[in-house]
């Protein structure tokens, strides 16, 4: 199956947040009420019961204020850091690109929470597990499309094959650049080796709360690629040294005693 993904066009989004509601509805997630922060954004970030949120950004411009909206959720990376760090192999990537989770295996260690360069997976205290967007894999496999894309009234969210979506995105960016959005760009084509959530942005990624060069922390890669596979070998080495000494000490002692003509060496060695 070809890589499937979402294409989110930030320039078409009206921040109706229908996707947020549809996501909650389909995934049967309870409402999370956070204190008012002085803007229209419902939550600070994704949380254990909110897999997707639309973030609001306001900027002053010579032509007046600009108001940007951007839907944030799991990016379903081609090379997901969360899958690498998961010690229970609960996280995995399916054949058409979704990063999924086997909740039978999750033990709530939260390694994935701190490995994700987009800070998306969140810890759910009541179940002691970490939750995130599933790209509605069960809907897609039954022939449907993700709940968020299904509900989007403006056509800002589309679901389809990644290659086709990229072609659409390139056309759209070309149009936007020619029509008053000189900084328009595609996000997710090359970032971190490619994301299965593609974005059409009307401006630079930072202005939409997205890192322009997302990067897995070097501490995490050092831990996963050097410490975990190699440092542990020191333990069998110490055990082997002790085992070797166990035999050589006794062998040498026996030989010494033999040389001394069977006389014991005394109470100390």
């Amino acid at each position: 199956m070809a890589k499937m993904g979402n294409l989110y066009d930030a320039t078409k989004c009206t921040a109706c947040r229908g996707c947020q509601v549809a996501c909650k509805n389909w995934n049967q997630l309870p409402a999370v009420i956070e204190p008012f922060k002085g803007n229209y954004q419902t939550h600070e970030s994704t949380n254990a019961n909110t897999f997707t949120i639309v973030k609001f950004f306001e900027y002053d411009d010579v032509y007046g204020p600009k108001w940007y909206f951007c839907k944030h959720q799991c990016m379903h990376c081609e090379y997901p850091a969360c899958v690498d760090v998961c010690p229970r192999k609960a996280l995995y990537k399916n054949e058409w690109g979704a990063v999924l989770k086997d909740y039978q295996k999750c033990v709530g260690c939260q390694y994935c929470v701190y490995a994700c360069p987009f800070e998306i997976p969140k810890y759910h205290k009541e179940s002691d597990m970490v939750t995130k967007c599933t790209l509605c894999a069960e809907r897609v496999e039954a022939g449907g499309i993700p709940a968020c894309a299904k509900t989007c009234p403006t056509g800002a969210l589309q679901f389809g094959e990644r290659q086709e979506l990229l072609a659409i995105a390139r056309e759209r960016v070309k149009y936007l650049r020619a029509n008053g959005f000189p900084n328009a760009t595609i996000y997710g084509e090359h970032e971190l080796g490619g994301l299965n959530k593609l974005y059409i942005l009307g401006d630079v990624p930072e202005k939409y709360g997205l890192p322009s060069e997302p990067k897995v922390s070097s501490i995490t890669t050092f831990w996963q690629n050097i410490v975990q596979p190699w440092f542990g070998l020191l333990i069998p080495l110490a055990l082997a040294g002790s085992a070797a000494s166990f035999f050589t000490t006794r062998f040498l002692k026996a030989r010494r005693e033999q040389q001394e003509g069977g006389a014991t060496h005394g109470t100390h060695n």
């Binding site: 033990v107 922390s217 000490t249 040498l252 002692k253 060695n269």
Partner: protein, 225 residues
């Protein structure tokens, strides 16, 4: 071939470790081993499923790991308070690292493999034991701190949490290495002999003490008058 030197209660013996010190040592040993086994489940990336069964699955192991972690950190602190003088004496000795200790460390690899070497007089703790004290204690403190950060990650900055994971692993490995060597040297290594009973019964044979820890032995004698 005997595995551990026989305990001889009838000969002259001198006290090496008080009850509190021994209690701290063995409670630390037991909790360390349980922490190690429950922790290795995750470190081994789920390749040790058979071990998870022993602790009631991965969640059971996680719970045991946390309970043991609390004992692992609280008991030594209590013991330090209860046996403050012994604690100070220990660390004073450890930091009086001198020429004889360096000589010990240089000659020790041969002694370890069973060759006969002449070692200069050692204080209560020999050069190797001093190294072990410093490395193991440092590792335990760092493992404990990083462990608590991993337990309650939401109250710490994310970078610190990310740093805690490799720290926990690296110092767990160093501590385990030291424990393997220390456990072997303190029991099955024929040269160490009496030191095992020093930590189990609290006393060691006087002539062993004179041979292995001359400086300490002389001081004890002086104090006894």
């Amino acid at each position: 071939m005997e595995l551990i030197t026989k305990y001889e209660p009838d000969v002259e013996r001198i006290e090496r470790f008080s009850f509190v010190a021994r209690f701290a040592h063995w409670s630390h040993t037991i909790t360390f081993v349980i922490l190690l086994l429950t922790g290795l489940l995750l470190f081994m990336d789920s390749r040790w499923d058979f071990l998870a069964v022993v602790f009631g699955g991965y969640r059971g192991a996680g719970l045991i790991h946390r309970i043991m972690a609390v004992i692992f950190t609280v008991v030594p602190l209590v013991c330090v308070v209860l046996n403050w003088r012994g604690f100070v004496e220990w660390w004073k000795d450890v930091f009086s690292f001198g020429k004889n200790d360096i000589k010990f460390l240089l000659k020790f690899p041969l002694e370890f493999m069973g060759f006969h070497v002449d070692i200069p007089p050692q204080t209560k703790f020999n050069g190797g034991e001093k190294m072990n004290s410093v490395v193991t204690t440092t590792s335990c403190i760092l493992v404990a701190i990083s462990g608590y950060i991993m337990w309650f990650p939401s109250i710490f900055p994310p970078t610190l949490v990310r740093l805690a994971y490799p720290t926990h692993d690296i110092f767990m490995i160093i501590a385990t290495m030291m424990v393997c060597m220390h456990g072997y040297l303190g029991s099955l290594h024929p040269g160490s002999g009496e030191s095992f009973w020093g930590m189990v019964k609290g006393t060691v044979k006087a002539d062993w003490a004179e041979h292995h820890h001359k400086a300490w032995y002389d001081k004890q004698r002086e104090q006894q008058g």
